[in-house]
Subunit: 362 residues, 2 copies
């Protein structure tokens, strides 16, 4: 008998049964009124999640596609951009910018540390003409959360730059106030806090950002936000969207509205606290100096192969736990507690880990 798998991975996260059911309903044609209304509902509910009155755009792609869309819709050759990077996903913005011939100013933090507003201030003072500043909300590679409010305030002190936030792993898990904090563009993906399958991405775009979108001259077709903006008004997507994914997303957004976004944040924070307390009990130190609520990264004892550990747990207990990325491979484990991940899922993961940690100590 196959076991019921448990996922403690930072996306895809497990799907609520009603989301899976919604996606299994007879598929809608995307040029019908029924789909148009579902699309419109989804975008309006996304405004609720983003805490914004700004327009929300939808695209059928991975979160990385939405990051590329921000680059190509906001910048022109020769423009100055700044990336304040706190891990693998911040570095991805740098790679995308370089692909388009732009060489951004990079403010880099040691992995595990949040973005330092003082370092940001220094870079901005030296570069008054920065057009776009890129941040992560949370970085799943290290388990940190950035203080976006303070960072955004800092940007405004020194420049008129557009503030772009990758909240692919943060939204609907960590508190985020797009309008109150003055964020211009917030990107996200469907498969984390949004409790849907992967394949949809969203970008909330502030009013003042559209001026830049009109003048930006990097080439884009599928990712053109102007076409997407028209689709919001028409309630009809330009190309065939991920229809089943929209059906699932609408249901997941109904669940979020039912719980209340503040309660979602609170629940995620409580699970993070619960995980940190367990980690302290079993002597696994936190990797992040500024730990996020979405995910806890833990340092493993010297000599323990983290990759072998998580592979064994997956094989023997059908529990997925993420390992470290790049230079952290084998050295840390990452336990997610966002989206539909529950306390009992965490308990199962803790038990599987404890059993094997005891064996190492013995």
């Amino acid at each position: 008998m196959s076991k019921n798998a448990i996922m403690l991975t930072p996306g895809p996260t497990p799907l609520p049964p009603s989301v899976s059911h919604a996606m299994a309903k007879p598929i809608l044609h995307h040029r019908t009124k029924e789909f148009g209304e579902l699309f419109d509902f989804t975008l309006r509910e996304m405004q609720y999640v983003y805490r914004t009155k700004s327009t929300v755009l939808m695209m059928t792609c991975s979160g990385t596609g939405s990051m590329e869309s921000a680059v190509v819709n906001l910048l022109s050759p020769g423009d100055k951009a700044l990336v304040h990077t706190t891990g693998a996903f911040g570095d991805r913005f740098v790679k995308i910018l370089k692909t388009y011939g732009l060489f951004p100013i990079i403010v880099a933090e040691e992995w595990g540390h949040a973005a330092d507003p003082k370092k940001l201030a220094k870079a901005l003072k030296e570069n008054k003409d920065v057009r776009v500043v890129f941040f992560q909300h949370t970085d799943t590679s290290t388990g940190i959360v950035n203080d976006l409010k303070t960072l955004a305030d800092e940007v405004r002190k020194h420049s008129a730059a557009i503030i772009v936030v990758d909240s692919i792993s943060g939204l609907a898990a960590e508190p985020l106030e797009m309008d109150a904090w003055g964020l211009d563009v917030v990107l996200t993906g469907s498969q984390k806090g949004l409790m849907n399958a992967p394949g949809l991405a969203f970008a909330a775009v502030s009013e003042r950002t559209w001026k830049l979108v009109e003048t930006a001259s990097l080439p884009r077709f599928y990712y053109d936000w102007r076409t997407m903006l028209k689709s919001v008004k028409d309630k009809e997507t330009p190309y065939t969207p991920g229809v089943t994914l929209v059906m699932g997303q609408a249901e997941a957004l109904r669940l979020i509205r039912q719980e209340g976004i503040e309660n979602v944040w609170k629940r995620t924070a409580e699970l993070a606290k619960y995980t940190r307390a367990w980690a302290a009990r079993v002597d696994l130190p936190l990797f992040a100096a500024d730990p996020a609520n979405i995910l806890t990264a833990l340092k493993l004892p010297e000599g323990l192969d983290g990759q072998a550990l998580i592979q064994e747990i997956l094989r023997e207990e059908s529990i997925s736990i993420a390992g470290g990325q790049l230079h952290l491979k084998g050295k840390i484990i990452r336990i997610a507690h966002m989206g539909f991940i529950s306390k009992s899922d965490l308990d199962a993961g803790f038990a599987a880990l404890e059993k094997r940690l005891a064996r190492v100590k013995a």
Copy 2:
């Protein structure tokens, strides 16, 4: 009681129940061996459908995204490209090329007519240095099918150009022999003949094409085929893919293998013949001079509003039929018979149409 909807639309097409079930299974994490094997299985079965030994790449996006991927991976500024367009989707290649600053040679057919090899030959003789030639396999806007074998032979007579085919609506419905016909790149989407939900696209890329991919200098990140090629070898996608869509695609490919691809072609051809015979009986002339098997476009009697007709049928009978696009809006209807569309689905559509056509005549 809500009626069981019938879709006669050219994508999304209806999903086989086992495909919906596969997508509703507990979601896999994309960095697991289990997903890697499903991804690998999907790409290998796609080779069977494409009739090719070439590498098949997968991307999470609409079919249009795959069209853009072909442009950015094959061309450099100043390169000469040729588009032989037979409808709205051929014109889309022109738009994408122009977005990237390339002004292709355009060979255009009147809507409803297949690509004329003589016109192609003339254009190629005058432009020996064309690097890439773009064709449609079928164009759903007009219901035509192109004779790709003859067109590809013609290209080779005059040039060494890479032959790119948009078979987004043709694959797994109309006969296509990628290797035997010498096609270099064949693009497709998941939501038509492939009987899956929309959101995945594929590109089969011939060996000789990779040389061009290496030297092409248009910018691309998410759509970079070199990154995708590495993912095929690693059995692991670079970014979080549409996991549920891959689960559905693997199941749909199992169904296609079970039936046999030639039998899929034969079944689609029989449904097309059945539809044309019905159309002749009710005096609706074919729009296409070179009709495809995937879809039948029919001219409506003067004075009959096609848009109102299909909206009424959808509202009253829950049957989706597509109308005309752009200048054909209201003037034609398009009845698809690809993928999981059955003879009984068609009968229901015919009955709904006949009832209303009789009313017009009365």
